[in-house]
Symmetry: C3
């Protein structure tokens, strides 16, 4: 395999005028610290600070962005060492797993996973080849050697990546032992939790009653009424805030919001506790709980995030075999204008609330989300999310959102990753794509060069800190 170097102008428009501007703008932001206000890195790796075990467990096993592509081409998750929850066998030889990955690396051509991996190999690990069948063993050994050295320990990388703050995502009934232990260790890396209460607010969750029982244990009082439930949630939010959290997160199928009467919601809650809730009940309970969460955020100042519009674990046979987050969460058409009206009418004019809304449905950018964020003071628009966190995806986001919502109703970048070493790669892509977008505006004389430089720094650093209160 030929030597492969990242091009310094990668992802920029080839037009020399745009490229010149993009380069200059990117130079202003490339070295700014990383602020990562939303993601799914396991805090355990920083608590233990142990070496990553092997290249397969570092790159492949935790990253459903990656293994779903291999699965789509007929490679079984077992062959890739993805653990099974039904007790079945999975591959355990990391070298074999790595070889499959390397032989199929060409599948990632033209995808964000491909460009992130290219960056990780090149910049993070100094490997100047793209993996393939021929160099699989060599690269594996090189990576193994590096991750065994102290230079590649998680905390060392955290500092090398210049991460100013990193938020994890944690269930409402998580006791945050790793966050606790990081704090107690005296290490100064800022790793904070985010309060994600879906497993206790969505009554359709598997084992919801078990989660409610646990919620009662953690808050010192059995939760047997709606009032008790609300009190318990408020206690957990306070605990998360004490542990450094500045935000909450809500993953819902639809962003439907609607306040039930006290009587309705209490009776619905008790019905759910008895295991009798119907799907339509869950829909209304979720709608009500978004209202409650907005109310609490307005009061306690936690930034509220909503990530709606995904049919989680679409492939039920695979889910039963391998569990959630296995690359088959599939977006659905999402409606915001009518669904969020009640919440926005009630809390959207309140300056105490920051509500950050995301989408997987790009048709809503110009139709619903930019007009909403371009009006309601409380609402901001989250960055291009998940499948749309990509070169074209971020470009389309800026193209569809900016003209209606401007730059200042957006909140910078989220890497949203489970793959720790992909963090600098993802931020680099976002910074480059934003620089290129701004460079295009300068080249077309829509904004000036000086305006672009200010905006670039805001998009990269200032807006995220302000929006997430970091």
């Amino acid at each position: 395999m030929a030597r492969y170097e990242l091009h310094p102008d990668r992802f920029f428009d080839p037009d020399p005028v745009v490229r010149k501007h993009a380069r200059e703008i990117y130079e202003c932001t490339r070295s700014l610290p990383i602020v990562s206000p939303h993601g799914h890195v396991d805090p355990k790796i920083f608590a233990g600070n142990n070496p990553f075990p092997n290249p397969a467990e570092l790159f492949i096993t935790p990253d459903h962005y990656l293994f779903r592509m291999l699965y789509s081409q007929g490679i079984s998750l077992e062959a890739l060492g993805i653990p099974r929850i039904d007790g079945g066998e999975t591959g355990s030889d990391p070298k074999k797993i790595w070889r499959i990955f390397a032989e199929n690396y060409y599948l990632f051509n033209g995808t964000p996973t491909g460009v992130w991996l290219d960056y990780e190999f090149n910049v993070v690990f100094g490997i100047k080849e793209k993996p393939d069948g021929g160099n699989a063993s060599k690269i594996y050994d090189e990576l193994q050697e590096k991750i065994s050295s102290s230079e590649f320990l998680p905390r060392t990388l955290f500092k090398r990546f210049d991460i100013e703050a990193l938020s994890t995502t944690d269930t409402a009934i998580d006791t945050l032992p790793h966050h606790q232990s990081i704090r107690e260790s005296g290490w100064d890396g800022r790793i904070i939790p985010c309060f994600r209460p879906d497993t206790v607010t969505d009554i359709a969750t598997k084992n919801w009653t078990g989660n409610i029982a646990r919620l009662g244990e953690l808050t010192g009082k059995p939760v047997d009424s709606y009032a008790g439930y609300i009190a318990a949630l408020e206690k957990r939010r306070a605990f998360f805030r004490r542990m450094g959290a500045t935000s909450t997160d809500h993953g819902v199928f639809a962003p439907f919001t609607h306040e039930l009467t006290e009587k309705e919601v209490d009776s619905l809650f008790r019905k759910a506790l008895r295991g009798n809730a119907a799907p339509e009940d869950a829909r209304f309970f979720n709608a009500h709980m978004l209202m409650e969460m907005a109310r609490m955020s307005t009061n306690d100042g936690m930034v509220m995030q909503i990530h709606p519009g995904c049919c989680r674990s679409h492939n039920m046979p695979l889910f039963e075999k391998s569990g959630p987050d296995k690359g088959h969460d599939i977006p659905v058409l999402t409606e915001y204008t009518l669904n969020m009206r009640e919440l926005l009418n009630r809390y959207g004019n309140d300056p105490r609330l920051t509500l950050i809304v995301f989408t997987l449905d790009e048709s809503t950018y110009s139709r619903e989300l930019a007009p909403l964020a371009g009006h309601y003071p409380a609402m901001k628009l989250g960055p291009a999310w998940w499948f749309n966190d990509s070169i074209q995806g971020i470009t389309r986001y800026r193209q569809s959102v900016t003209e209606t919502a401007g730059f200042y109703n957006t909140v910078g970048f989220n890497d949203d990753t489970r793959a720790f070493v992909s963090i600098p790669a993802r931020h680099d892509v976002a910074r480059r794509v934003d620089a290129n977008y701004l460079g295009g505006l300068v080249a077309r004389h829509i904004i000036t060069r000086d305006e672009a430089l200010v905006i670039a720094k805001d998009l990269t650093y200032n807006l995220v800190k302000r929006a997430y209160k970091l």
Copy 2:
């Protein structure tokens, strides 16, 4: 603040070949007269022809495109002098209002409002700086001086802008006194009304029965049956035609069309008169009235416009405080193919009808609207509307529509503005973006330079005159 001049090649692709073609094409259209067949300028300003009172009332107070952005960043409408309907106080010092606007001018970077304002200051008023906190007073005084002079009277600007025809938008129960007075004044500016009967055709309108009573007064006979109602509407249409109107306009939530039986509709009408109509009744009555309006247009030749897909006054608390058109009308997903089938089946093959359809839902451009306009002889596609009337928005419109509907099923540009001095700015943007789109086609050898020049003039001038019968 540094001197700021508009770049002669602004909004054109930086590629030198595209830019060369775009420039040449734009040169053919830049000086063509403005035809403005749809908008919301207040005819009163031409009737009185008084000086605009001050920069705040000229630029800020009437323009919800502008103040919604400030509101989204936490600036209250009161601070911006937007009148309240609930009797509350609002700011009244235009200098203070202007200062807030100037300090926040950077929020419009990258938005169409920003480029329109840049044009208005530069080209209309000769002000070669962008407003900011530092120059706010100076620019205010400069503007105040200019608008007090005879050169900046409304009628003088109308001629200077080279407006060949300007249509306002007027309710069916408007007596058009300002249009009347303009005609009587002997001034030759062509300002015509457009018949927009929503407040009498939508039975869910606030005070609908009052509007119907007024309709009866204006047509000389109490409206107490559906037949009487139709007769009254036909009379009003005839009055509007006598006053120069060539078009009607219909703002509906969904473009659902369906003809009720005479018996059904008469009974529904009487139910509504008694104040007993349900939301579903309103849906069907609107659907029926679109059929009726198409029938009348087929007979009387008035061009029929449909502007659907907006949740008006989304922010109810703000609506109750400040009234409609305050920057919180939010688009919704819109369906045309099935909703408009009945109307198109009945009237869409009739050469006497011109039906111009708009959308705020860009996902319908390639999916529904271009295929419909590319088939039905009566149907034409309105230009990129409202949030999509922007550099990227018009570009996406041409990119999504042209390949299926061609250029000749579109109808030129609508400025659709309430802000009179933004008219030349908006037409200039549209002409530049169309020139750039055509230049790109020439550069990619899809059409020839000669074809582009013909199409450009058609898009700018001939199609709008033909479609709107001006």
Copy 3:
């Protein structure tokens, strides 16, 4: 009219770097054989191998892409010689028809029909002018002379176009006499049928019971139960396979999939046979039949195609006059994630199935289809279809699909045409647009030049052969 030559770099980005790469990539694919796995060319023309009768019947009458545009501008289908089914008269002078077409040729500026026609005239027929009113007769005569010569016989053109395989689309009750006769003639052109059972699987089809009776005749046994019906369909599939078919095709309004119980479906089938089925019954029967077709494809290896989301024959008055496929099939919003879940859960993990899914709703590319194809091993994404088979449409397809599904979950190009001589024109456009897309990725350093060359050949030739088993 001025001489008109196709530009060698047409459709490529004007940027010199992108253009250089695009040109080099296109040079690798331009001469590859054409594989046409899905289309609507009439096999009769190859069975008879008679000269095309005249330019109007070659270019205009069979091509609804073309005459719908003329119709949209007020030209009647009768004037264009489109046959009527209600017995009314239609124009029969091909010279007159041709003149109307030539005079209105400018309507196709900027459309794919326009660029295909330019190619057909220039490359296939060596005519170096664009048709217009002035040259209409001259071009007509030139074309007439050519199509009367042996060089332009259908089989000769098939070889000249270098078509390796061409699939037609045939109903389940077609006896395939032309395919039969082509085979018996000893000619080696590979023309194969595709099994499209809509007229027997959609119980809402006009004359469905007649079709079922015919199905019984062809399979030797009256079809009077659901079990008998399934057996008959399996027999017809086997017949099509013997005649060379490798694929099936299913045109449904919505891609809803759902398995009924044996009892439910049998009772529904009998109800339909008695003519008593309701619209909701048809919806469920279609959903069930997609499950059955997936089951059969999993067993017999026929590639399954789904083409959903079209309101066929939208213009009912025109349909009653002129029949189906007359340019007024209009797309509708289409939902895949929830609708296809049952089918994908049941068969989508099975390596024996290849399921190729299409859309007319571009908002589903990034939201639903790319995530689904980027996960399920059985599912592949069909190319940009119908209205979206265009320069911008294919570009948007690659831009929206690639980052999530990669290149290798797509299946190359389909020309999907009824207009035989448009085949090389359409493949040329697709090859150019793909080359340009890949050239853009190289220019932005997202993939390397060498990677682009490999991918280009796969997109043009290898993927289609593999996916369609050709």
